[in-house]
Structure formats: structure tokens, C-alpha cells
């Protein structure tokens, strides 16, 4: 019951935020020179002024900016995301098509980064200032400092071109058009390199946080008590230390869900994945305001959902938090 109340309060608080974000993006994009018809002309390689005028009218671009914004918000209230001018389809269906690859990629990368972040963080903390710690910390630094597009391209060179183990791009094998379990496996194979590419930088962050947080908790009094009781070291780490050390990690997941959406633009381009990140990039270049706002809306919802889930996990990990909420 308390959790439901928490959920309700959270959602109510996020509505004004959402509205502000949408209005902000709308106004920001007005500062970009050119509109969707200009972008269309650029793509066509020329056209006459009369056609341009007609198209502007068709897309409602001849209205004043407040009128356009008003129309947009009014449609949004009725849960209508509008019509995409690049795709000629409702924005909602365009986004729905692009959502699965992005969500898959994000979930896979986050799980990968989270899991190995914990493992490496624990190992490093246990062997602090010994060789495992040094090796892991240096690797972490390298992953953190490497730009993901470069990492992606190098992964393609090694695993796709030289070793020929994994596909160099795409979401699934077009030639085969598989179904069921084979399709799932095929998609999974295509996602290995993008997941690694997107996940490594987050892995680097997680392992550092995990290491620091483990070191802190390991020095607390209750851990000393646990050891004094005669518990073996593994039990101390798993039962007593890990649970408390996880709290900052969980916080970070919530914060990074948004960052990850941004990072996926690069990864989706390098691996030619049909995701939301690339769609967002294209809608900026094509000045497709409706699609862009739709993506902002959906991403904001996504981030809000993730943060909400994080709050729940929090309450589970540390009952004191739920009690205060």
C-alpha cells in the first residue's frame, strides 16, 4: 500500500517535468535554422518554391509557433503523438517499431555492466592494492576512456572481419527470415557486439563504484562483528557487505538509464541497428518535430519507469527507505 502511494506521488510529480521537457525541446528546435520542408528539399536535391509552400501548409508549418505548440500539447492530452513527416505514419507506430531494439540493447548492456561491475568490483575490493585490483582498475580506466564508436569499429574489425564469428551489423539476418527460438538466437548473436560496446563504459563506472562502496562497507563495525562471530569470509561478503554496498549501484542505474539512451545513438549507427537513438538523430536532421517530441516523451516515460523500479528495489534492499517514504 505504501508502495502504491509512493508510485502515485512519483507519477504526479513527473507530469509537470514531462510538460516542461516537451515545451523546452519544442522551443529549442525552433532555433535550428530550417524546417522539415527544407530538410525534404535537401534530400530531394531541389524543388520549386511553390511546392515548398504547399508542403508547409500540409504539415501545418505555416502556423505561428505558439499555435503549433498549442496544437501539439492539445493532441498530447488526447494521447495523440501526431504524424511523422519523414515516415508518413503516426509517430506512435514509428516509435513502437523502433522501441524493441533499443530496449533490448539497453537491458542487455545494463545487465552486462551491472553484473560484471559487481563481480569485478568485489574482486578488486577483496584484493585491494594487490595485482587483481591493479589489473581491474587499469582495464576499467581504459574502458572508461575509450570512445564507444571506436570501440565498436574495432570490435567489428576483430570479431567480424578477421575472426568472422559475429555479424558486423544489423538487427537480424535478413536472408534467413527465421522464426521462434532461432530468430531469438539470431537477434542475440547480432546484439553481442553492440551490447559490449555500449556496456563497457558503464561497466567501468560500476566496477569503480562497487569497489569503493565495498571498501567502505568492509570497514564498518558490523562487518567486524560478523567476522568476530566466526563467519567465513564468503558469507560475510555475500550476506552482510554486498547488500549494503549495492545501494549506490542501484542509484546509478536510475541515473544512467537516460545517459544510455544518448549513448545508443552512436552504437546504433555503428552497428546499423534500427533503434530509437538513430531515429532521434534522424528526426533532428530531418526537422521532424513530431517524431522527436514523441521520442522525448517515450524516453522520459522510460526514465521515469526505471527510476520508479529503482525506488522499489531500494526499499527492498534497505527497509528503512520504504519506512521513511
Amino acid at each position: 500500500m505504501r508502495i502504491l502511494r509512493l508510485a502515485g506521488r512519483r507519477l504526479a510529480a513527473s507530469i509537470p517535468t514531462l510538460a516542461l521537457i516537451l515545451i523546452g525541446v519544442f522551443l529549442l528546435l525552433q532555433f535550428a535554422p530550417g524546417d522539415t520542408v527544407d530538410a525534404m528539399m535537401a534530400q530531394m536535391g531541389g524543388g520549386d518554391a511553390a511546392t515548398a509552400r504547399e508542403l508547409r501548409k500540409f504539415y501545418g508549418l505555416d502556423l505561428s509557433i505558439p499555435a503549433q505548440l498549442g496544437n501539439y500539447l492539445w493532441r498530447l492530452i488526447r494521447l495523440d503523438l501526431g504524424f511523422s513527416s519523414i515516415y508518413g505514419k503516426p509517430v506512435a507506430s514509428v516509435i513502437l517499431e523502433r522501441l524493441p531494439p533499443t530496449i533490448l540493447l539497453m537491458t542487455a548492456s545494463l545487465s552486462f555492466a551491472f553484473f560484471f561491475g559487481i563481480v569485478f568490483g568485489v574482486i578488486a575490493a577483496r584484493g585491494v592494492n594487490k595485482w587483481p585490483d591493479t589489473v581491474i582498475s587499469i582495464l576499467g580506466l581504459i574502458f572508461y576512456a575509450t570512445p564507444s564508436f571506436w570501440f565498436g569499429l574495432m570490435a567489428i574489425v576483430v570479431f567480424s572481419i578477421y575472426l568472422q564469428w559475429l555479424p558486423a551489423g544489423g538487427f537480424e539476418d535478413i536472408g534467413a527470415l527465421q522464426t521462434g527460438i532461432w530468430r531469438t538466437l539470431d537477434i542475440a548473436r547480432h546484439l553481442v557486439l553492440p551490447t559490449l560496446t555500449l556496456g563497457l563504459i558503464f561497466l567501468a563506472i560500476y566496477l569503480r563504484i562497487m569497489r569503493a562502496s565495498m571498501l567502505e562497507v568492509l570497514n564498518l563495525d558490523y562487518v567486524r562483528t560478523a567476522r568476530a562471530k566466526g563467519l567465513d569470509e564468503t558469507r560475510v561478503v555475500i550476506r552482510h557487505v554486498l547488500r549494503n554496498a549495492l545501494l549506490p549501484m542501484v542509484t546509478l542505474i536510475g541515473l544512467q538509464a537516460g545517459t544510455m539512451l544518448g549513448g545508443s545513438v552512436v552504437v546504433e549507427s555503428v552497428f546499423s541497428l534500427p533503434g530509437l537513438g538513430r531515429l532521434a538523430y534522424e528526426s533532428v536532421v530531418q526537422r521532424d518535430l513530431n517524431t522527436l517530441l514523441g521520442i522525448v516523451f517515450v524516453s522520459a516515460l522510460l526514465v521515469i519507469t526505471v527510476n520508479f523500479a529503482v525506488d522499489l528495489i531500494y526499499a527492498r534492499l534497505d527497509p528503512r527507505i520504504a519506512a521513511e517514504g
Partner: protein, 538 residues
């Protein structure tokens, strides 16, 4: 000084140009008497998705690369660049040039089984080319009607004489036919067929997954006997150029058209025996790098300043060190690949001469002020390719050496067009001019005054010259090919003298294709053509 050091680095990077040259000279290796083989899937790099795929309403290579295989034009170009019938079997112009009669091919059917007739031609010409198609609306401006006395005859009637050579050279790009029965009701622009094209061509549209791929399969009822050879063509959407090069190497792509890879990847793949990297097959897609002057700027309206700018830039140096063997010195608005119109001696030219540039600027009254600066300009480069970006930096550095400070203002596509062609908010702009086989199609609009504001790639410089306008108008309706060529030679001379737009570099798009492809690059617009004879050797 700074320029020289940069140049050495670039030269090292492009050391491979000798290898490219070898391929340019001999693009089709191992072409012994092999018998064509049926079957195979051909994977194509598709770099920029379009909003729709109907070539009857959008003239661009991004559309032809896909729907040129599915829909067909009345006329295409053969290996020698001469018009050859596709959906039209023959044609004839009346002596006054006001009617052109096309005899259409018999027994051709649309992919949905309906017969192709002159009604389709009439509908496409009047409703699509004349009203919607970019450049088509200019080309067909004086088209009044298309008569269809029988299903195999289409008679184009013009208000003013239409040179037959102009029409035949424009139709390969601006002459794709759509099916009347699929378009006659509703808004043509919003028709769903635009994204699932139905044509008469060698390949039938199967599926378009936005952001991923387009698939077309062999048309078993194609009118050309024994064609096509391929089972399937897959266009893979890959926006990142480096990723596309990697996929070529991984064997997932077979063909990357229209310079779709980075200059350094092209140089690298040219050394790889698995690929052919060449400009062959793109002669009909020549492009020229431009420098556009805004005449609303007092300094630039002075011809001495424009000439000084041209003299201040060492174009051969730029080509040698930045573009390699894929580019050459341009001489004016008509590229040398256009054998029917290239005037040969394109005078006057503006060879690199810094002293002369300085003298011209002094003479125009712009002496060096404090710190050696005479005045400063804003340069807007178009975002179409890395050569434009390099070229704009080169202009900036070259002009600084004669005392003109250049600020580079970068935009994306929509922003560039809006600022340059919509708002005239530029001093200098640089981009590409694409030549479409005949100067009247897309070249002369860069010079003809009186273009409506906001029309991209037209004379938006504020430049006006009655003599040039007249030459352009006369040439557009002159039906005698010899006189026409002479008029265009005159036009080139006039605009090279006045220099409202400078076109100093000529380029042809570069094709990267797997070596086992056969019958490729055999026409001047091969990337856009139908690929009915393309096959893959074992």
C-alpha cells in the same frame, strides 16, 4: 607554412592513390568469356533513407538506387551515353520541335499484372512530372498535353520547341513511369505505393523495413528475355560510413554506390583484390565543387574581388593532396564528361597566383588593414560530403594568406538550405552542383536570374545578367543540336568571365563493388539503372 605541413600528412595518408589509379584505368578485371550465371543475392549499401521511393515524383540517386530496379523509364543511356529505349521503343520529333511522339513497348505488364499503356505515360507526365517532380516541373514547363491515340503511342505536345536531345538526355532521370491505376485517386504524395513501389522493372518490391532494409526479388514475367540474373537485391540501411566499409570487408555488403565510403576507406579497399573501386559507371553523375558568392555583399559584387578569390586558391594542390585520383581540375559549369556539350577551351580560367590576387584586391580598394586583414567573410559549407568540409577549410586558409578572414559556419542539410537559399544569410557558400547530362536540366538555373526566393540550387546570389539570361533561354528551346552546343559554349564563356559561381573541381562518384560482380558499371548512370544484366560469378 601551416598548409605545407598539413599537406605532407595528407600525402602520407593518400600514398595509396597509385593503387586507385590502377583500378580507375582497368576497372573490370578477369572478364574472360564466362557464361552468365543465374541466381544470387546482391547486398547494397543504402546510406540515406528517403521519405518515399517513387522516382516519378522525386529525382534523386537515393530513390533511383532502389526503385530504378523496380520502376522503369521511357529512355535510358547506353554504354556510350546515347539514349536507348526502355519503355519507349522509338521516338520522333516534329520539325518545329513542338511535338514528340513515343512508340511504347508492347506486352509489358505492371508487377500486379495489369498492362502498361500510354494512359500510364499520360498520367505520369501530366500529374507527376509536370506538377511534383523536382526538375521535372522545369523540364516540362511548356508541356501542354500528352495525346494517347492508341495504347502504344504517346504524343507529347509542347507550347514552345522542345529540343529532342534535351528531352532524351533528361528522361533517363526525369522519365520514370508510374501506374495510373494505382495513383489516380487521392493525393499522389501520400499514396502508400510510394513506399511499396509497383513497376514494370526486372525486380519486384517485397518488403521495406524502415531503418533496416529493402528487399526486391526477381520478376519472373520481365519483358527482357532471360533477365534478370539475380534472385534478390537487398538494400541495407547503414548510415555510418566506417561501419559500411567494415561490412564490405566482412562480406555482408557487395556494393557501395556514389562515394558512400570515406576517402581513406576507398583508398584502402582499392588495394584489396576482393573489390573494384572505380569511377566507371558514374559518368552521368558528375558533380562539381562550387564556390557561391553573395552579391549582396558589397565586396563580392566587385568582379575583381571574385577573381582575386579564385586566383588565391591553389586548386591543383588541393586536388592532389586531399581528393586523390577521383577528382580533377574543373573548368566551368559543364563538366568534361559531358561530351555533347563540353566546349573544350573554357576561357577564361583563374590559375593560382597569390600576387595577382593581392594586386586585384588592392585595385578594388581593399588594402590590408591592421594585421594584414582586408575584410572578413562568412563561409557556409554544405554538409553533403567530407570533400566539401575539407574544401571549405582549404578556402579559409588560402584566403587568409591574401588578407581575407573567413569564418566557417557549419549547418546540417536543412539549416544550410534555409540560410543560403531561403534567407541569403551567407557571404560565401560551397557545395556540389550535380550535372544531369544536359545543361538545361539543372545547371542553367544556377545562373538564370529571376528565380523565386527559397528555391534551392538556383541563382540566389543576387546576380543578374541580361545577356546570360538570353543565352540560357535561347539554348533551352533551340532544336538544332549544333547551334545548341554553340550557345552553351557561349554561356560557359560568359559565366566564366563574370564568375557569379565558381566551379573549380570536377568529380565523379566512386563505386565500390565486389570483384565477382559482372556486367556492372557498364552505363553512365549504372548505380541508378535497372541492373537487369547484372550477375555474380561463382
Amino acid at each position: 607554412m601551416g598548409l605545407t605541413r598539413l599537406a605532407i600528412n595528407r600525402r602520407t595518408a593518400l600514398m595509396t592513390s597509385a593503387a586507385i589509379a590502377a583500378n580507375v584505368l582497368n576497372p573490370m578485371r578477369a572478364f574472360a568469356q564466362e557464361t552468365p550465371r543465374k541466381g544470387g543475392v546482391f547486398n547494397v549499401h543504402y546510406g540515406a533513407e528517403q521519405r518515399q521511393l517513387n522516382p516519378s515524383i522525386q529525382a534523386s540517386t537515393g530513390v533511383y538506387i532502389i526503385s530504378g530496379k523496380i520502376q522503369e523509364n521511357l529512355v535510358d543511356l547506353d554504354a556510350n551515353g546515347k539514349p536507348v529505349g526502355v519503355l519507349a521503343e522509338s521516338w520522333e520529333a516534329s520539325p518545329d520541335g513542338k511535338t514528340v511522339t513515343f512508340k511504347l513497348r508492347k506486352g509489358v505488364t505492371w508487377h500486379d499484372g495489369k498492362p502498361f499503356t500510354s494512359a500510364d505515360v499520360e498520367f505520369t507526365a501530366m500529374q507527376m512530372w509536370k506538377k511534383i517532380l523536382n526538375y521535372g516541373s522545369t523540364l516540362q514547363l511548356f508541356l501542354t498535353a500528352v495525346d494517347t491515340p492508341d495504347p502504344q503511342t504517346a504524343i507529347f505536345r509542347y507550347e514552345r520547341p522542345m529540343p529532342l536531345n534535351l528531352l532524351l538526355r533528361a528522361l533517363p532521370d526525369l522519365g520514370y513511369i508510374s501506374a495510373k491505376h494505382l495513383y489516380e485517386s487521392g493525393d499522389i504524395r501520400q499514396n502508400p505505393t510510394n513506399l511499396a513501389p509497383v513497376g514494370t522493372g526486372p525486380f519486384k518490391f517485397v518488403k521495406y523495413e524502415r531503418g533496416q532494409y529493402v528487399i526486391a526479388d526477381r520478376n519472373p514475367d520481365y519483358w527482357r528475355p532471360n533477365a534478370p540474373y539475380l534472385d534478390r537485391i537487398v538494400w541495407r540501411v547503414i548510415t555510418d560510413r566506417a561501419a559500411a566499409a567494415a561490412q564490405m570487408e566482412a562480406g555482408e555488403l557487395h556494393y557501395s554506390p556514389f562515394s558512400g565510403l570515406t576517402i581513406s576507406d576507398l583508398a584502402r579497399l582499392a588495394k584489396d583484390k576482393r573489390f573494384v573501386v572505380s569511377t566507371k559507371g558514374n559518368e552521368g553523375n558528375a558533380r562539381t565543387n562550387t564556390l557561391e558568392f553573395n552579391f549582396r555583399r558589397k565586396e563580392l559584387s566587385d568582379i575583381r574581388v571574385r577573381r582575386a578569390i579564385a586566383h588565391a586558391i591553389n586548386v591543383p594542390f588541393f586536388i592532389d593532396n586531399f581528393l586523390g585520383d577521383f577528382a580533377k581540375l574543373g573548368t566551368g559549369p559543364i563538366p568534361s564528361t559531358s561530351t555533347d556539350f563540353y566546349p573544350g577551351a573554357n576561357t577564361p580560367q583563374y590559375p593560382y597566383d597569390k600576387a595577382k590576387a593581392a594586386a586585384l584586391l588592392d585595385e578594388a580598394g581593399y588594402k590590408s588593414g591592421a594585421g594584414g586583414t582586408r575584410f572578413s567573410l562568412r563561409l557556409l559549407p554544405a554538409p553533403w560530403g567530407e570533400d566539401i568540409s575539407l574544401w571549405s577549410t582549404f578556402i579559409q586558409q588560402s584566403l587568409s594568406e591574401v588578407g581575407i578572414t573567413v569564418e566557417i559556419v557549419r549547418n546540417d542539410g536543412g539549416g544550410f538550405l534555409k540560410q543560403v537559399y531561403g534567407e541569403h544569410a551567407f557571404d560565401l557558400a560551397t557545395g556540389w552542383h550535380q550535372y544531369r547530362n544536359d545543361p538545361a536540366v539543372s545547371t542553367t538555373v544556377w545562373y538564370r536570374s529571376g528565380q523565386p526566393k527559397g528555391a534551392p540550387w538556383t541563382n540566389q546570389w543576387g546576380w543578374e545578367d541580361k545577356t546570360v539570361d538570353k543565352t540560357i533561354d535561347d539554348a533551352a528551346t533551340e532544336i538544332d543540336p549544333v547551334k545548341r552546343k554553340a550557345l552553351y559554349a557561349e554561356f560557359v564563356k560568359e559565366v566564366n568571365t563574370e564568375l557569379p559561381v565558381w566551379m573549380p573541381i570536377e568529380q565523379i562518384f566512386v563505386t565500390t563493388i565486389i570483384a565477382k560482380a559482372r556486367n556492372h558499371s557498364n552505363t553512365p548512370r549504372w548505380g541508378s539503372s535497372s541492373w537487369h544484366d547484372l550477375w555474380l560469378s561463382a
